[in-house]
Symmetry: none
Subunit: 273 residues, 2 copies
DNA sequence: ACTATATTGTTAAAATTTGTTAGAATTTTT
DNA sequence: AAAAATTCTAACAAATTTTAACAATATAGT
């Protein structure tokens, strides 16, 4: 990966998140923090970002749009850690399905940081944000599932979506979930069921990727049993009791530790009048 | 492999990725890094790229974003006029297909300006920009066709796309074209053929919407005869001879007059997210 | 076939980029 | 306010990339 590429990655992260930390970028890009710092200095010189303690901030944006609290709520660090683990399941040239959601988006972003994967994989997704990201930041073969557009999710669901997926042969599918417990992945939304089922069936291996805050929540419809998946990737926030119970019931539980610190600390924002 | 061929390979890699590394290209092309470097120097001399550490970067535009925005400004008044006419073919509650392209985007924009249509119609499209616009600015039922993502167009094409469309019942389809003449709509891109054919077949009525500058251009593949469509909506720039010839051959030709009011002012960018 | 010209590969030194460290400065916690 | 943790700076070593010169190979013209 050449310097210009790395800086482009930081620019794109900056665009979608407003600010990024040095530790985070260094982890995702696999380079030293010093290198990231120097890249950010370059971005500052060209006026794209300004350095703040621990990272950089996109210029011409009000920080209160993406405050620290928001980021915590989104469990960003956990998602990056989950993404890092998920990436290790992917070999160059693999055919991958990404379910809708920010966790899967984090995996897609991680892919674009790896030049050996970025252009060799084949990606299918029902999520517009994921497809958009890969459309701009990778050169892999890329498919959208199509289907009925769900505005809230920026994704597609329903029979058409499931039908398209069911005709594919995939190496690995990453499923997201807004609710899961010791036994099931569930959802409140009926048309998502067939989509996730189709993806799990179409892929040789499928994994649930979901941060621990989603655990214990209950959707009205049960989708698939955890045992039927090839693994669950989640963070260490999962209660000890649940970890034991899941492991015992034969689930391949992968717990990741969010190493990279959170976003750079926000200096007090001066409200412009 | 001759030098010109190699440089073309690098050019196209540069087109789709914005930047490429020397090591990458040397590996893919099976030549020494020095040779790739010299090729890139040649590309730099002709102004196609600039050398950066470790590789080369496409000059000008950032990651293929300008072409789309640029296109949008082209023939803008004509497209708005065409859109106005197209809108008159749509009744509230209609099921509509929009082909890819800025002309169809203009129609979609026109729909969101009509409250009696905006939330009652059902829209299907293979264009991400069209879907994104309606996702944000309307509340209608909305479907994306899915399929293989064509980065240059921000749209989907291919067998999957055509197959999804073929299972629909549509009231009206608006087809775009980058090239058409007195007899045929044509395209240089093979996977677009089946998509347009499927849309024309799935819809009770289908129209070609294309500004007159596209007339007389020739794509390698002929797609569909103009007589098979229910109408052509184009602007008054179409040569008089062509107008006569088309009308005589039984084509329902609709000529619109772009008003000067529709000046191509800085139209805001549609967020693709 | 033979020479002239252009293209490609190889190498070594120069320049740049990157990683590592240790101490200074800053921010956060106690 | 002091202590602890983190982040920044600067300097140097290590790795990579660039440059430039030359040898090897290919191509074109006579």
């Amino acid at each position: 990966m050449i310097p210009a590429e790395r800086q482009q990655f930081i620019r794109s992260a900056l665009d979608s998140r407003g600010m990024v930390s040095i530790v985070d970028m260094a982890g995702q890009l696999g380079v030293s923090q010093m290198t990231v710092r120097r890249d950010m200095q370059a971005l500052e010189k060209e006026g794209y970002a300004t350095l703040v303690s621990g990272g950089a901030q996109r210029t011409g944006r009000i920080a209160s749009e993406l405050p620290q609290a928001e980021k915590r709520r989104l469990q960003y660090a956990e998602k990056v850690a989950i993404a890092r683990k998920a990436i290790s399941m992917i070999r160059p040239g693999a055919a991958i399905y990404f379910d809708a959601g920010t966790t899967c988006l984090a995996i897609a972003e991680a892919i674009t940081a790896r030049s050996e994967l970025r252009d060799s994989v084949l990606v299918v997704s029902n999520d517009f944000t994921v497809v958009s990201h890969l459309m701009h930041n990778a050169n892999c073969r890329l498919y959208h599932t199509g289907g009925e557009v769900l505005r809230a999710n920026k994704s597609c669901v329903g029979e058409i979506t499931a039908n398209v997926i069911s005709r594919l042969n995939l190496d690995v599918a990453f499923l997201s979930a807004s609710s899961w417990d010791a036994e099931w992945i569930s959802t409140p939304s009926e048309p998502k069921i067939s989509v996730k089922l189709a993806a799990a069936k179409a892929a040789r291996r499928s994994f649930l990727v979901a941060d621990s805050t989603k655990f214990g929540r209950l959707g009205f419809f049960n989708i698939i049993k955890l045992q039927e998946l090839d693994g669950i990737i989640t963070d260490a926030g999962l209660p000890q009791a649940a970890q034991v119970q899941l492991s015992r019931s034969g689930v391949n539980l992968m717990i990741v530790q969010p190493t990279s610190a959170e976003a750079p600390i926000n200096k007090e924002e001066i409200p412009l009048l």
